[in-house]
């Protein structure tokens, strides 16, 4: 039953052919049987989930449906690790994140904390201090990241659906690499309150699901204004499922010439081109566009994201919670060793980079300049969206690579995010849907669709039309 989509599970719950308890039990059983191979979960609280299942109201929008939660989102009373040694075993959330409160209000059951790159810093989930999640399609390969655990458990049918977070592609890229759907909402559409901040001006929580419909259902529940998050947008939330099953005839789909460059894996390129043809057959009109500042996006991102992260992660120092170094000789020793012991290499690298770009004498040259380039990148998108309704590209230039393959060169790893990063800099929304497979080995390929701010409905219409006219989403890893 863990292989059900959210929509199908809901139908069975509402028809009475399935009870919330039976559904929850079957997911727990699937995790117990299957997660040894995948290592998608950091922890799960079966008792709490079953208790919630017993009182679930299936008439609610997500009534009785268990949802896996990335281990960066606070769930009251549950351990939170951010896949870091600095929190592992030493932190229990004292509060619910707004998305968790909203999920509960919609009747959903938070079940299980999914693995991730430590503090969401990475594109492979290899930066988890708790263990590496395996790609269900080939367990010698990475699931993508940073929401690799969420993508893997959805793809491996160890969850119906999951929440992830996306700072530079962390929902879309693992969704692409694991063959599921991942939607990054517009910045401000979903409250960030309670999701541990990596880069506050870029982070966004979103759904990771088996189908576009499921993403729409989940997005319905988690969207909306939150007074606890000043950056959340006070805009009405439409019924995103109403955008399903729409004609996309006449829609202009932009193909940024800067995104179709050398270095894209030939099979990824072929799958993307086939997807363009498919959308054309559905009546969409492909248009070549330009996003001229694309080549600067990665550099801009790594300045802004690391600067914010260096400050956001300052709170982890073992005074109020988390790991604390043994017998510090003074306060400085306490801080220096606690953080040296608690953080992994990538997190240290990014904190140091962020500290450097903000430090005296470098702020203008790096940080302010990056913020200005961010303005140019935003302008690229707003100009492009004057001409087209949506933008299309591969989600990742390459399919899932082997575990350990890229660990030695952080910069190479950063460049894996080139198609997803600019979306976060611009604050717009995007989705990744399965668009085919490589041949040998068989690995999923993702198609990225981007739309202007607050146009998630358009994303859903296009992605759904594409999905429903192609077989990819029905395939499962064996």
């Amino acid at each position: 039953m863990s292989s059900l989509t959210l929509a199908d599970a809901q139908e069975q719950l509402r028809s009475g052919s399935l009870t919330p308890r039976a559904l929850t039990e079957s997911i727990i059983a699937a995790i117990e049987a299957g997660d040894g191979k995948i290592r998608g979960y950091n922890s799960f609280d079966a008792e709490a989930a079953l208790a919630a299942a017993d009182t679930a109201d299936v008439s609610l929008p997500l009534g009785g449906l268990p949802i896996a939660i990335k281990d960066i989102i606070n769930v009251k009373g549950e351990a939170l690790t951010c896949s870091s040694k600095i929190l592992e075993g030493t932190f229990t959330s004292p509060y619910d994140a707004t998305v968790i409160a909203k999920l509960r209000a919609a009747g959903a059951i938070p079940l299980g904390r999914t693995n991730m790159d430590e503090f969401a810093m990475g594109s492979s989930t290899e930066n988890s201090a708790l263990g590496t999640t395996k790609n269900p399609w080939d367990t010698s390969r990475i699931p993508g990241g940073s929401s690799g655990g969420s993508a893997a458990v959805v793809s491996a049918d160890l969850a119906l659906a999951a929440l992830g977070t996306d700072t530079g592609g962390s929902i879309r890229q693992p969704a692409a690499l694991c063959g599921c759907v991942g939607l990054k909402p517009t910045y401000g559409r979903v409250s960030r309150y309670g999701a541990v901040a990596f880069a506050s001006s870029l982070d966004q929580i979103g759904p990771m699901t088996k189908t576009v419909r499921d993403s729409a259902m989940l997005l319905n529940a988690i969207s909306g204004h939150d007074a606890m998050d000043s950056t959340s947008l006070d805009e009405a939330v439409p019924d995103f499922t109403a955008a399903l099953g729409k004609e996309i005839k006449g829609m202009k789909i932009g193909l940024p010439k800067e995104y179709f460059i050398d270095g894209i894996d030939p099979e990824v390129r072929a799958a993307t081109e086939a997807a363009v043809k498919q959308l054309e057959s559905l009546g969409a009109e492909p248009v070549e566009i330009s996003l001229p500042h694309t080549e600067y996006a990665t550099a801009t991102y790594y300045v802004i994201a690391t600067a914010e992260a260096s400050s956001n992660l300052a709170r982890f120092e073992g005074v109020r919670y988390g790991h604390r170094a043994d017998a510090p000789k003074d306060l400085s020793d306490h801080y220096m060793r606690t953080r040296a012991e608690g953080f992994g290499a990538e997190v240290k690298r990014r904190i140091l980079l962020g500290t450097y770009v903000l430090s005296s004498g470098y702020y203008d040259a790096y940080y302010i300049r990056a913020q200005k380039v961010r303005t140019l990148i935003r302008q690229d998108f707003s100009e492009a969206f004057q001409k087209v309704d949506a933008i299309l590209s591969p989600t990742s230039p390459v399919p899932a690579f082997g575990i350990g393959e890229r660990c030695d060169d952080p910069l190479q790893m950063y460049l894996a995010d080139i198609f997803t990063i600019a979306t976060n800099l611009a604050g717009i929304c995007g989705i990744s849907v399965p668009c085919g497979f490589t041949k040998e080995p068989k690995l999923p390929i993702g198609l990225q669709i981007l739309a202007p701010s607050m146009q998630e409905e358009r994303l859903i219409s296009i992605a759904d039309a594409y999905e429903q006219s192609t077989p990819w989403h029905k395939e499962r890893p064996c």
């Binding site: 960066i72 989102i73 606070n74 939170l80 951010c82 929190l87 932190f91 004292p94 509060y95 994140a97 960030r192 309150y193 309670g194 999701a195 541990v196 901040a197 880069a199 506050s200 001006s201 007074a227 606890m228 998050d229 000043s230 950056t231 600067a307 914010e308 260096s310 400050s311 300052a314 709170r315 982890f316 120092e317 005074v319 109020r320 919670y321 306060l331 801080y335 500290t355 903000l358 430090s359 005296s360 702020y363 940080y367």
Partner: protein, 488 residues
């Protein structure tokens, strides 16, 4: 070279806690006396995932302060992170304002009566207003308690709204600094923005001080003084620092920028940290808080600007005819001023009301350790009635002081009731008094003759005897009139 030969340049950084209900960035209650760590939440504890929100009232009160001090406001104001590690600072960055504070410029007028009593007769720059650099809005930190082997932390105070008022290096003496703090306090209280009591930590002050020989020289090394817990301590610390620096400079020891900690008990300062430990704060705009447009807030706050102490003082002189000095003291405290104004309005002798408020009432309150706003025994209208009784000759000033006012304090009754109860009403009935006077003249022929021969002063002795006969109830003014008439 004696200290007087140096030019002293002083700037003050004052932190004032705002009188809001809730904290700056979360809904936790602001206040004292709660059990440690009971007024806290994920936001003010810097828990993972928590986010700040802006307290509207704190922004409004800061803008109001700016209006009271004649500040300008940048069109857009925003918040920034100041990054440094300290255990009482939960996020390890302070949410403050860097390049776009809510208020800029403006000034603090140095009221004469705000100087220390001993220098009020000789103020070097009377009427001077110290120029301000800026006022910004930030958050307080938690409270550390240092024990022998460890430090404990209570985060109740963390996140309390703090307004930082930064002066230009525009102050020259410890006395001006003293007056600056007192004047500022009065203005903050008048606006209802802060209780501003330094001894309670509601207002805190860091002093920057440097010495140089001539105006042409650049400013000398800046020495920062911390741990100053009253205007008097600020004054003492500045005196000490001027002496210390000038002695060292005279001896050829140049000053090096540093922070010194004042010990008010020992009356000396010691180095806390040198410039080498100066922080690299890595300020950057807070991504979790959005900028504020100041114009609409300024417009709304204009309506709330109160009458400031110096304006009130001027009005008291004009409306109630009190002396400038009395007016400045009466207007120095919001509650005192309100009391006086209520008592004086409609009174027969407003100057006498001022005397009674400043002398009898204040000393009585002082003795009972009561603040004027907390005192209920003598409401303003009762004091007015008392003074009216004196003014109309119903009772003497002496009776009022010795008998009526103490009874009012004790019982809370009106002056009229007490006069009646005690039978203190003065006898002005000339028929009765003439009889007393005739009797006294008869019994004291010698004195009467003295008065007749032109020594009117001698009549006072007769008045005393008449008073005795009347058991103190005779109106002495009437008595003396009758006596003099009879002894012409």
């Amino acid at each position: 070279m004696p200290a007087s030969d140096y030019i002293v340049t002083i700037g003050l950084e004052v932190h004032a806690q705002l009188t809001t209900q809730s904290k700056m960035y979360c809904g936790c209650k602001v206040g004292y006396g709660a059990p440690p760590n009971s007024q806290t939440c994920p936001v003010c504890l810097g828990m993972p995932g928590a986010m700040p929100t802006l307290n509207e009232a704190a922004i409004e009160k800061t803008v109001l302060t700016g209006l009271m001090l004649g500040c300008e406001n940048p069109e857009i104001s925003k918040w920034d992170r100041k990054n440094y590690f300290y255990p009482d600072m939960p996020k390890n960055y302070q949410l403050t304002q860097f390049d776009l504070p809510l208020c800029e410029h403006g000034s603090v007028p140095l009221y004469d009566h705000c100087y220390p009593k001993d220098v009020q007769k000789d103020i070097p720059r009377p009427g001077y207003a110290v120029k301000l650099t800026r006022i910004h809005l930030e958050e307080d930190v938690g409270k550390s308690t240092h024990h022998e082997k460890n430090t404990t932390i209570d985060f109740n105070r963390a996140g309390t709204p703090l307004m930082e008022i930064v002066s230009d290096p525009d102050i020259r003496t410890g006395e001006e600094a003293f007056a600056y703090l007192n004047s500022l306090r009065q203005i903050l209280i008048a606006g209802g923005v802060s209780d501003a009591d330094m001894e309670k930590g509601q207002m805190r002050c860091d002093v920057n001080i440097s010495l140089r020989k001539t105006e042409e020289e650049p400013l000398g090394a800046k020495i920062e003084l911390k741990n100053l817990n009253s205007p008097a301590a600020v004054r003492r610390a500045i005196h000490y620092e001027i002496d210390r620096q000038s002695t060292e400079l005279d001896a050829g020891t140049p000053q090096v920028q540093c922070t010194r900690r004042w010990d008010d008990d020992l009356g000396e300062s010691t180095v806390m940290r040198s410039k080498e430990d100066a922080h690299d704060y890595r300020y950057f705009p807070e991504p979790d808080l959005l900028p504020i447009r100041t114009a609409p807030i300024v417009e709304a706050m204009k309506k709330l600007v109160p009458e400031l102490p110096h304006e009130k003082s001027q009005r008291f002189v004009t409306d109630f005819g009190v002396t400038e000095y009395d007016a400045s003291v009466l207007s120095s405290d919001k509650h005192l001023a309100t009391y006086f104004e209520q008592a004086a309005t409609g009174a027969k002798n407003t100057k006498l009301v001022a005397n009674w408020v400043l002398n009898d009432l204040l000393s009585a309150l002082k003795e009972s350790f009561t603040e004027i706003q907390d005192s209920t025994q003598v409401p303003a209208e009762n004091l007015r009635a008392l003074v009216d009784l004196i003014e109309s000759g119903k009772i003497s000033g002496k009776q009022a002081k010795n008998d009526v006012f103490p009874a009012m304090l004790e019982t809370g009754k009106t002056a009229g009731d007490i006069v009646k109860e005690k039978g203190l009403e003065q006898v002005s009935d000339t028929g009765a008094l003439e009889a007393f006077c005739d009797q006294v003249i008869q019994e004291n022929e010698a004195i009467a003759a003295d008065v007749r021969s032109g020594n009117e002063k001698a009549a006072n002795a007769l008045v005393g005897r008449v008073m005795k006969l009347s058991k103190g109830q005779a109106n002495p003014k009437v008595v003396i009139g009758i006596l003099l008439e009879k002894l012409k």
